[in-house]
Symmetry: C4
Amino acid sequence: MEPINVNDYEMQARGRLHQSIEDFYQGGSDDEVTLRENRAAFERIRLRPRVLVDVSQCDIRTAVLGIPVSMPILVAPTAAHGMAHPDGECATARAAGDAGTLMTVSSSASCSIEDIAQAATGPLWFQLYIDTYAQAKDYILRADAAGYQAIVLTVDLPRLGRRERDLRNGFRAYQAKHIPDAFSGHDMPMSSASAEGGTVESGTIPEVVDIGDTLTWETLDWIRSLTSLPIILKGILTAEDALLAVEHRVAGIVVSNHGGRQLDGVPPTIEVLPEVVAAVAGRCEVYLDGGIRRGTDVLKALALGANAVLIGRPVLWGLIVNGQPGVRHVLQMLHDEFRLAMMLAGCPNLQSIKPSLVKIV
Amino acid sequence: MEPINVNDYEMQARGRLHQSIEDFYQGGSDDEVTLRENRAAFERIRLRPRVLVDVSQCDIRTAVLGIPVSMPILVAPTAAHGMAHPDGECATARAAGDAGTLMTVSSSASCSIEDIAQAATGPLWFQLYIDTYAQAKDYILRADAAGYQAIVLTVDLPRLGRRERDLRNGFRAYQAKHIPDAFSGHDMPMSSASAEGGTVESGTIPEVVDIGDTLTWETLDWIRSLTSLPIILKGILTAEDALLAVEHRVAGIVVSNHGGRQLDGVPPTIEVLPEVVAAVAGRCEVYLDGGIRRGTDVLKALALGANAVLIGRPVLWGLIVNGQPGVRHVLQMLHDEFRLAMMLAGCPNLQSIKPSLVKIV
Amino acid sequence: MEPINVNDYEMQARGRLHQSIEDFYQGGSDDEVTLRENRAAFERIRLRPRVLVDVSQCDIRTAVLGIPVSMPILVAPTAAHGMAHPDGECATARAAGDAGTLMTVSSSASCSIEDIAQAATGPLWFQLYIDTYAQAKDYILRADAAGYQAIVLTVDLPRLGRRERDLRNGFRAYQAKHIPDAFSGHDMPMSSASAEGGTVESGTIPEVVDIGDTLTWETLDWIRSLTSLPIILKGILTAEDALLAVEHRVAGIVVSNHGGRQLDGVPPTIEVLPEVVAAVAGRCEVYLDGGIRRGTDVLKALALGANAVLIGRPVLWGLIVNGQPGVRHVLQMLHDEFRLAMMLAGCPNLQSIKPSLVKIV
Amino acid sequence: MEPINVNDYEMQARGRLHQSIEDFYQGGSDDEVTLRENRAAFERIRLRPRVLVDVSQCDIRTAVLGIPVSMPILVAPTAAHGMAHPDGECATARAAGDAGTLMTVSSSASCSIEDIAQAATGPLWFQLYIDTYAQAKDYILRADAAGYQAIVLTVDLPRLGRRERDLRNGFRAYQAKHIPDAFSGHDMPMSSASAEGGTVESGTIPEVVDIGDTLTWETLDWIRSLTSLPIILKGILTAEDALLAVEHRVAGIVVSNHGGRQLDGVPPTIEVLPEVVAAVAGRCEVYLDGGIRRGTDVLKALALGANAVLIGRPVLWGLIVNGQPGVRHVLQMLHDEFRLAMMLAGCPNLQSIKPSLVKIV
């Protein structure tokens, strides 16, 4: 059956990968309370639609950090697309570009920084984990050189969360890690393991987060010493940290709980968005990921002050089901749902989306 | 088994029509959150009954826009009754008249404006979609000429909502549309398709909402240039729009979310009724539809300030199960339930129904 | 299995009577929202126990309207005990007396006012429906003469509620009605019908509530013209009516929603108890019925200001399962549970039960 | 399968003991509302994690009443470990010591005060029930002599709660009681009964709580006349009693509802922790037990002001599944989960855990 919404892709993606990989993508940490709440929280927000507004020219184009995009829906960084599809991040990047939007490439990508850049037809950001300073420096310089337009530093992973599905499966997430060397150019082993449904050989791959638990706000200065790219912090969940981020002159914040995969029990992102937006007070851009499955979710996030949202798992589901066209379709569906939601809410453009559009119950 | 309440009719109506038509009537948009909430919200309202009041002469007659009706329960506009019963809206109109109440005829009726007027034994309002100005003008003039007593302009459908049941069924709502030409007089094709359970041929029928997304408050002036009938706006969900409606001198407002069929995530109607009533402050009449299944629901709506309620799906269920007598019975049951609810609540007349009769929990 | 709590009696009572009688006892009105909420509301109240209080002499004896009782747990009026057990109300009255508490006899009792009085070993109140003034006068005079100590006027039944189980079963509640003539002395027909599981012959029995919907506060004067017995009003759910009751010098109020059998959607009794208690401000006694199944429920009701509670269905379950000893056991279990709850809450006597003992969440 | 969390131990422990013993350990009182709420309440607390804090040296060591422990997670007193494992409390004590933490030994232990002390490799507290003053005096003196470092007086058991599972099983809790005579040295009969799955012979064992319902705040003076050990009160659930405890110079308070086994309907412990902490205002230590199953639960309790938490049933599950190593593993898992939760929350040490780390929703 032709998928008509993002949830259809989720259902169709089930059973196509080795269970341990599917679990890696789908799972959260501990009891998955935050994972569930990411969705449930959207249902506690009411939309307050306005009527008799001419919405025939509804325009959803916008810009993030000055980069024009077709819609305020971006691709979130997720690990190891090579496990989902042989073309890995290259397929995703092409699909994002086709959809006119921006992709955030993960430090744990299956394809190399350069290959993705070459494949991409749209703007790219680079998500950064700092395992060792040497490797991180290498990534930053390569991303900068390859034309990536921002560094998205993940700040909610001083250690890997307790993802119990992975613990039970004996799945080592960081088998799925490390961007392939730009010069070798081959995919990471996990990709073929995935294709064959075989067990994963972790061999000599080192643990990812070596110095992750030592990062501080000073780390931003170190990044700035290497690149002039704007820095975005991904994983902020409090007004306090949002203020610190502004003080440290970040270009953007991603309100994120890592898809419910790090500390279980943290709030759903949409629930804390207002406090972050209020703290930031327009001094940097604010994005949100976590649980976006509907155009109306996007509308709610924007009404509560987000500049844009990022989607993670839905992109993977599209990639699993149908590669590049699957991702493209997922993005298109969200585009269309969001635009229709705006029209039905009486919003002819993004500027007309205001806090009064929503009510939290 | 003889139905003893509206829910019985819903259950007995199941399985009698082609599944795609049943889905069209029953379904909501997206995840049907608003559809479910329309019902759930009534359970969050407590009735505070008064005792030792003489209610032996309990009188529930009222008037809407000066039109006397037997009860504050009217028939909401719903599409294409010909899909539910061969007699279509003519049966419904006769049943409403028998019950002493008013019917709102849909722009998407299966019978012609004139045929319904001829069949009707009670007052009629005409619900208007504006697809093209020419067609809308034709409808308005014909409705006026045929004795309809108000124009109910639907304002929550700049575009059709995402009704996923219909999307999956390949059901095109507007196959069910367009009032038959007054001169041809025959039913719309859908009606027979329904009877035969066959597939629907959409053929040359144009999309309904052509200019719907361009309507503005000025559209009311255009309607007023064609008719002196009072204008009611259907689909208001905010105090802001209620105020604008009053400023634009409408005669009435229907607090409606289109039965959960347009923008999913908007509030249940009973939840926003108080803010609309407060904004209007008596300057026009306020009605409510959405989720009314019990006499106590009517009582709650009136206590929160509605002048009357409109019922949609229950009328269709009655029509499906038993045609005109089925609709008549549904209306009678709600009449009796509502009157009994008033008596048990200590309300001898509609004037005694006050906000203190309810408490929202 | 030996029942160890009231719920066990409910389970053991199932299936012992003709289904239509069981439904009559168990059912509520409409969608039974209030019926369910009567129980659920108790779970939203937290007990705040105190420690290191000497509770070894815990005393739960009290008095209602000056009548000493062994505990603040009385027998509520319920209809037609002859349907539950051949000995009918006589068995119940003996059990209540054995337990040292008071029974409220229903106007719809299966046994005569006099027979119950003769059987009783404890104090009695008489619950009054006024169908006709002649009959009501007869009841009042007989109750007074037979030594009943209060008239409990039910004020929430101007009409019978919509008990859909009975409607579906064709069960006419008032087949179960009318106290047998004192001179004929035989049980009502329903009792044998029950025993045989046969259909009920309603014959010439008139509808109960003839003038019930005309009662007003002046009706109290009429009762006072016939008897000097104190008057209690059963069925008050608002502060407004509680104030009126005080103004009309009633001796007591029963906060009751008729076990969820009259107007569906009214609040659970424990939820409105505080507003009634506040309004009364000690000027009359306040009792509560509805959903009491545990000793902790009694404790919560008393903490929120009730002088005593009345139990209805649990008494019937005891009667169905084991006649007089069954009722006696039910009362004993509640006695013991309540006393233990007091001890565990640090309450050595009823005076120590204060509002600070509970918190509503 | 190797257990990876505490819930795994619970599942693996099922079915290993005679059902009546499992029910004794697992059950709560009455309807087990409080038992369920103890868990559910933790899900209503959100963690607010901070980022970019160097947590590489995360230190979770602390001290309770000046006694150094490896973590703020202690072993709660639970009855009759001999029913769970032949080695009884001796196994538990060794496991606690191995984990670097403190064990609270129950008055109802299967092993003698002295045997446990001899087996223990870490600090011990002694939980006291006062059945008779003679026996209690004997316990206190022996505990003091054996090196126990505090008396934990249980104050929420003036009488035994209504544990209906035990009532149905005919299980007499206090068959599981009485510390074996120091001189006889043999285990209590229950232990073998458990091993054989046979019925329990209660024989001549007296009821436990003889004078429990007469205890008052003066009882503390009596204890102080016997020992200079610090006194901790276990079972406080209100600010009022917390204040009294401070006035009576206790060294610590355990916010506890006895694992939902005493008065059903009292609040979950985590819900009342804030009011107790506020009342105490640092004048004594505050601990919490009840429902701790995750490292994040510990973090929430500490953020709301607890000095440490105690775990009861999880220790038993470990003991049932694998004796001493099982308990050791349970403690290690909670240690690791808690430390990781701190790191993911941005807390480098216990001092950094503040109320702003949580939000109650």
